[in-house]
């Protein structure tokens, strides 16, 4: 017995440690790969945390100097080192509001066209065109705005608006002053063109997620296309569309290059939409590299912090709403 078993033993002895070695190596690879991916995932959180910490740290000198009055002061004077963020905040909010007022109805109507009216063969090309346009860098819209759109507005739309609303009390202040071409209104219009593809493509996706049975049932009752859209599609898609609109708003608020070209960079709040103004991102882009002194730089970083907080809130709401609709579909 022992004699027969003897030749086998060395082989077994050789094989067993090999096998355990392989297994433990595999276990080690798996564990280290898992840790590596986990570290990368945590790095994403660290980046966001780093952005917040770096912005707060960079803006401390300005916030310590001016306190809360930084947010409510209009003056922006590098010579006397008095800085206030009210004018850029105002410009950011007003240009984004103009952009949304135009882009939301247009985006929704285009989405209705794409999902309800458009012939099948045209749907894909138009959809692809819109998605490709959403990827065009904002500096392209900026350079177009500066060289083509602003001169055009200066000679056509703006004089027309001044003449049209001149005699009307409230609106005359809104459209007062000489037609510069560049200014708040121009920036708002450029932003509208920029966010239009985003809002359109998200709205279309959400509209397409409406179960066909619901729409067919409504058509079967004799509803017109508009009634189907109004009473079936929009109620179903409301949350998703709101999410898409908020996402577009987030883009408009933070957009830099398209605005910087045409806003005029004037730190004042003017009642007229035709006057030059500034936005948070345009101020930073225009002045950061020229800012002399810690307080000036720090005030610009503080502007960045305010912008980040505003967009964070808007984007968080947008994502929350889109997540809700995804859960319902999925």
């Amino acid at each position: 017995m022992a004699d027969i078993a003897l030749p086998d033993t060395p082989a077994l002895v050789q094989e067993r440690p090999d096998r355990t070695r392989v297994l433990s190596r595999l276990r080690l690879t798996n564990a280290s790969f898992r840790t590596l991916t986990l570290a990368a995932a945590i790095l994403v959180l660290v980046i966001l945390g780093g952005v917040i910490v770096a912005l707060i740290e960079g803006s401390l000198p300005a916030l310590r100097q001016f306190g809360f009055s930084f947010v409510v002061t209009e003056s922006w004077n590098p010579v006397t080192e008095k800085f206030g963020a009210l004018a850029p905040i105002y410009g950011t909010l007003v240009t984004s509001a103009i952009a949304m007022l135009i882009a939301v109805p247009f985006g929704l109507l285009i989405a209705v066209f794409l999902t309800e009216l458009c012939p099948m063969w045209l749907r894909r090309p138009v959809g692809i065109a819109i998605e490709l346009l959403a990827g065009i860098p904002s500096i392209i819209y900026g350079i177009w705005g500066l060289f083509v759109f602003a001169p055009f507005l200066q000679h056509t739309l703006q004089p027309f608006l001044i003449d049209l609303f001149g005699p009307i009390p409230v609106l005359s202040t809104l459209f007062a002053g000489p037609p510069y071409g560049i200014g708040i209104l121009t920036a708002g219009l450029i932003l509208a063109i920029m966010v239009l593809p985003f809002i359109t493509s998200i709205s279309r996706d959400v509209f397409e997620a409406v179960p066909p049975v619901l729409k067919e049932a409504a058509y079967g009752l004799g509803c017109t296309t508009w009634e189907v859209v109004r009473h079936v599609v929009i109620p179903f898609a409301r949350v998703g569309v709101t999410g898409g609109v908020m996402l577009g708003l987030g883009r408009a608020l933070g957009e830099t290059m398209a605005v910087t070209f045409v806003i005029g960079n004037a730190h004042r709040i003017s009642g007229s939409l035709l006057a030059p103004g500034t936005t948070i991102s345009a101020s930073i882009a225009n002045e950061f590299t020229e800012a002399l002194g810690d307080l000036y730089t720090s005030s610009l970083v503080a502007l960045g912090l305010i912008l980040f907080v505003i967009t964070f809130i808007v984007l968080a709401i947008a994502r929350y709403m889109l997540m809700r609709i995804e859960r319902r579909i999925g």
């Binding site: 595999l26 770096a54 109507l109 009216l117 138009v126 060289f147 933070g254 830099t256 910087t260």
Partner: protein, 284 residues
């Protein structure tokens, strides 16, 4: 059957016709507007495009020149940004789709990543300024590349996760039942099945960063001379376009249009090939 209330019927049809006409009108105006932008770009861009643009340095105002140094600078920064950002993005996406699919951490990372995806890029520039440029004491191409890398990560995370989630779980189960450890299943089964999708994500990330201007303004700054030194200020196409377009000199403005055309072509080519890749994958 007679219609009981012809007026109601008529008004419903009228409302419908009005809204539908408005929606067609909106589409025509919306698309027309975008065509106008592209048309002006092509017209002005091709008017100022020449071989010189690719072979000569940025000129001082009033003389002829090209965009060679910003093109090289942009390429260098994009390559470094992709080299840094892609591995991080793929690994993080892997964690979320494979190891921690249902974990609390993964849903938090997903949420934060989506916010980073659309965060204002100028804020990312400020972040890199605070953590890289200020401690080092000077602007550098490396800082610019890092700012771009921060923009690459969320795009790659998102597409990697989405693409890994579309891999059928039966594939993973089959591999696991053969005794493969999870890391091997991911490397040899999941990655292989999702490869085209992951590459699409990287292409989209390149498209995203190739036109980014705001994060480079105060990280890489600009450089009017030819330079390949990543530790010094580096020219980039978008920043040069910004500077030249805002200048009062006609030949600088012409170069800005040429640069804008080059960027648009690059971005469109990248997004179209990304689309073609994912379409080919779907056709399989």
């Amino acid at each position: 059957m007679a219609i009981k209330n012809p007026n109601l019927y008529r008004s419903r049809r009228a409302v419908n016709a009005t809204v539908m006409a408005m929606s067609v009108g909106a589409t025509v105006i919306g698309l027309g507007w975008l065509v106008l932008v592209l048309g002006a770009l092509l017209w002005n861009g091709f008017g100022s495009l020449s071989l010189q643009v690719f072979t000569e340095m940025t000129p001082p105002p009033g003389s002829a020149g090209g965009l060679l140094n910003p093109i090289v600078g942009s390429l260098m920064m994009s390559i470094v940004a992709i080299a840094v950002g892609t591995p991080v993005g793929i690994l993080a996406g892997t964690y979320m789709a494979e190891y921690g699919r249902y974990s609390y951490l993964a849903s938090v990372v997903r949420f934060i990543n989506d916010i980073l995806l659309s965060a204002p890029s100028i804020v990312i520039g400020l972040f890199i300024y605070e953590v890289v440029v200020r401690p080092l004491g000077h602007f550098s191409g490396l800082a610019g590349a890092l700012a771009l890398a921060v923009l690459v990560v969320p795009v790659v995370v998102r597409t990697t996760e989405d693409m890994l989630l579309t891999v059928p779980k039966e594939l993973r189960e089959a591999a696991t039942s053969l005794g493969m450890p999870r890391s091997h299943v991911i490397a040899h089964v999941s990655y292989r099945a999702a490869r085209a999708g992951i590459v699409t994500g990287v292409l989209l990330a390149v498209a995203r960063i190739s036109g980014e201007t705001a994060p480079l303004l105060f990280t890489a700054l600009n450089n009017q001379f030819f330079s390949t030194d990543m530790n010094a200020p580096l020219a980039s196409l978008p920043v040069v376009i910004f500077q030249f377009a805002m200048s009062p000199y006609a030949d600088w403005q012409k170069l800005a249009w040429a640069g804008a055309l080059i960027i648009t072509f690059a971005v469109l080519a990248l997004s179209i090939s990304a689309r073609a890749l994912s379409a080919a994958r779907r056709a399989q």
